[in-house]
């Protein structure tokens, strides 16, 4: 099971935290989410992904108990 946390505008489409099974990679997770919420595709494509508090690329494999954070474009400052 993978723990997922989304931030900012992504919370318009997904719960702030949820979990998923049977996702093999970040790319896999991303396309699952796009299928669930097609309108989120644009914001997802602009977002960065972190696994266990490190930025990762879409190719990054996901393992059981991984914690994924999906980070829309920053708007701090």
């Amino acid at each position: 099971m993978i723990d997922i946390q989304v931030f900012a505008g992504l919370k318009d489409y997904f719960p702030a935290t949820f979990n998923m099974e049977q996702v093999k990679s970040v790319a896999d997770l991303k396309s699952c989410l796009e299928q669930q919420q097609p309108h989120s595709a644009n914001l997802l494509s602009l977002s960065r992904f972190a696994v266990n508090e490190h930025f990762v690329s879409l190719e990054h494999p996901l393992n059981n108990h991984d914690k994924v954070a999906i980070l829309p474009p920053a708007s701090g400052g």
Binding site: F7, G9, D12, N42, H54, P72, A74, S75, G76
Partner: protein, 156 residues
């Protein structure tokens, strides 16, 4: 770079912070006022009362704190070595902020002022672009919008 013993340098870990409290500019400035600094630049980004023509009532910032702190520290460290700063600091406030509150303070100190200005802008530019912190603007008409989002979907 040598430091006067009378102005001990803060530990590296204190160079960045995320807080829900008001940013204490007086203390942060005093920390930067090392004996070797010739110029200190302090930038404060404050909550504006308008955005894209709409009146802002208040803001809320949220952060993915562990990664935000890591990335802020990385940016500050890179600025320190790029310009040999005698001091650099970045604090971002999160939670609910009122008009006029400081959301972010960046301080840079260098023997020469042009480097202090340049490094300060560098840190600000990178923090805004790279650090996972987001603002949610609440307008006086009751609507709200996440910063940097696709606007049409976002205005609820």
């Amino acid at each position: 770079m040598t430091k006067s013993p009378y102005f001990p340098q803060p530990a590296v870990a204190s160079n960045v912070a995320i807080t829900t409290e008001a940013i204490d500019i007086t203390t942060l400035f005093a920390n930067a006022q090392h004996a070797t600094a010739g110029g200190i630049v302090l930038f404060s980004g404050t909550v504006r009362n308008h955005h894209a023509g709409m009146a802002v009532a208040y803001l809320e910032y949220e952060a993915f704190e562990p990664l935000a702190l890591k990335q802020m520290q990385l940016i500050v460290n890179e600025a320190c070595s790029k310009w040999s700063l005698s001091h650099a600091h970045c604090t971002h406030r999160i939670g609910k902020l009122a008009i006029g509150d400081s959301a972010i303070v960046v301080i840079t100190a260098h023997a020469h002022r042009s480097q202090a200005y340049e490094a300060n802008q560098y840190i600000m530019d990178r923090v805004k672009a790279e650090v996972p912190i987001w603002k949610n603007e609440f307008f006086t008409d009751g609507s709200s919008a996440w910063g940097n989002n696709t606007p049409p979907i976002n205005s609820k």
